[in-house]
């Protein structure tokens, strides 16, 4: 069973809907015992970073612990940004620190937010993108992005005047800046790939 972490922010239900649509068992929960017993975790999020951090509060430690123990974790949008060290959206806030890097504003020489469908280039070795390589369009909606500095992380990127990190993978920790649950069939395939990763138990 995949647990979609319910922490009082937007779009949590959309992620569950998407998993159900592709026939995967997924449940919304904020119960630490569900989180510890899950085959995999999804940390969704439509919120400002600070609001999301406060909403997550005590669950943060549980999520961190199980992720460091090897349970597959997929962060989406703000949930993806929460994987990093810190963000400067409306003040300075600490993230989970699972992947090295900081969340910073998009450069002002582009239209901000980065909103819409952009082409993501996928490296060969990210199993989130099985059967989708080399590139596909995904839906983005964000004003901040993760400047990924983790040498242990693989990165898929998209072009927004510079190579913008669109997804990361560090061992069992996965994250997408784009919304797979809102990226039509291509996005549903990413969720299916994640579900398969969870089934494999790696």
């Amino acid at each position: 069973m995949i647990i979609v972490i319910d922490y009082n922010v937007g779009n949590v239900k959309s992620v569950c809907n998407a998993f159900h649509h592709i026939g995967c068992e997924a449940k919304l929960s904020a119960d630490p015992s569900d989180i510890e017993g899950a085959a995999g975790l999804v940390l969704p999020g439509v919120a400002a970073f600070g609001y999301a951090v406060d909403a997550l509060s005590s669950l943060a430690e549980t999520i961190k612990k199980v992720a460091l123990n090897g349970k597959p974790l997929l962060g989406i949008c703000v949930g993806y940004q929460l994987l990093f060290d810190e963000s400067c959206e409306y003040g300075r806030h600490n993230g989970l620190g699972l992947v090295s890097g900081n969340v910073v504003p998009l450069p002002a020489d582009q239209v901000v937010p980065h909103m819409g469908w952009n082409l993501v280039n996928m490296p060969d070795d990210m199993d989130l993108f099985t059967d989708l390589r080399p590139e596909k369009h995904f839906y983005f909606a964000h004003s901040f992005y993760a400047d990924v500095t983790d040498i242990g992380a693989q990165i898929a990127s998209t072009d927004y005047g510079f190579p913008l990190p669109a997804a990361v993978q560090k061992k069992n920790i996965y994250g997408t800046q784009f919304h797979p649950e809102k990226s039509a069939k291509t996005g549903l395939k990413v969720l299916r790939n994640f579900a398969q990763i969870c089934e494999r138990g790696d």
Binding site: H21, V46, Y90, V112, M115, Y139, H142, K182
Partner: protein, 254 residues
């Protein structure tokens, strides 16, 4: 490269999609969930649902509608119409909407944009503007509120720029003069607003031909184009629209 978005707009009244001309003379265009799913299958980039009745009762209906749409449609969608508080926005976002648009309430209380941006992020906070060409000042547009029924003294371009500073992450810009006429978007309006802000602008009102869409993107500089009449009544499919734009060099997700 970021692609230009093709966005069908579903005006919802009493649980049905309707489409009027210049906000009047409504005509039935089908069931919102079915139409939304059809657009998603056809390759629309996004959807907008506007509750054009916007009464207390219709607001409950729209939450149910959002939940139904979210179970069947896996592309982003914005919901708007009569939304006044961040709590109402929260309910809609939690029900599955990706973004929420505010119009009259933001004019009455501009801080609403800031509150929404700080809680949900700017990318969820859409400002809808109903713009009408000013009769007193040539080359200017005035903001109209209450579903376009009440003109204000507020200048559209100034309001758009102010809203960006307050936290709006996108502007849904409807030309009331062009709406439903199928005579083309008001690209002077689109250009004036896109020049004044650095957030995405969705051009709305007046799409009748594929040329019009191309012009809104290339002349009006719009990041996205909204349409209703030409796709609801199946004059064109989303695929035809995208293929046309692609052939003319516009980046689209096709």
């Amino acid at each position: 490269m970021l692609t230009k978005r093709i966005i069908p707009c579903l005006d919802v009244k009493d649980g049905r999609v309707v489409k009027g001309i210049k906000f009047l003379n409504l005509r039935d265009a089908g069931d919102p969930v079915e139409l939304g799913a059809r657009y998603s299958d056809e390759g629309a980039d996004e959807l907008v649902f506007l509750d054009i009745t916007a009464t207390i009762r219709s607001r409950e209906t729209i939450v149910e509608l959002v939940e139904k749409v979210a179970k069947n449609v896996f592309i982003p969608f914005t919901v708007g119409g009569g939304i006044q508080t961040v709590e109402q926005m929260d309910t809609l976002l939690r029900s599955g909407a990706e973004k929420v648009s505010v119009n009259t309430a933001a004019v009455q209380n501009p801080d609403l944009l800031t509150e929404a941006a700080q809680r949900f992020g700017s990318q969820c906070t859409v400002l809808a503007i109903d713009a009408r060409r000013s009769k007193q000042h040539a080359g200017k547009w005035q903001v109209c509120v209450k579903a376009g029924s009440e003109p204000t003294d507020i200048d559209v371009v100034e309001w758009a720029a102010k809203a960006e500073k307050l936290g709006a992450g996108e502007i849904l810009l409807t030309s009331m003069d062009a709406d439903g006429t199928k005579a083309g978007y008001d690209n002077e309006l689109n250009k004036a607003v896109t020049d004044a802000v650095n957030i995405p602008v969705i051009a709305s009102g007046g799409a009748g031909t594929l040329d019009h869409l191309y012009d809104a993107i290339t002349i009006g500089n719009a990041n996205a184009v909204l349409m209703a009449s030409i796709t609801h009544f199946q004059n064109y499919t989303i695929n035809q629209i995208k293929q046309y734009l692609k052939d003319r060099g516009v980046p689209v997700n096709l």
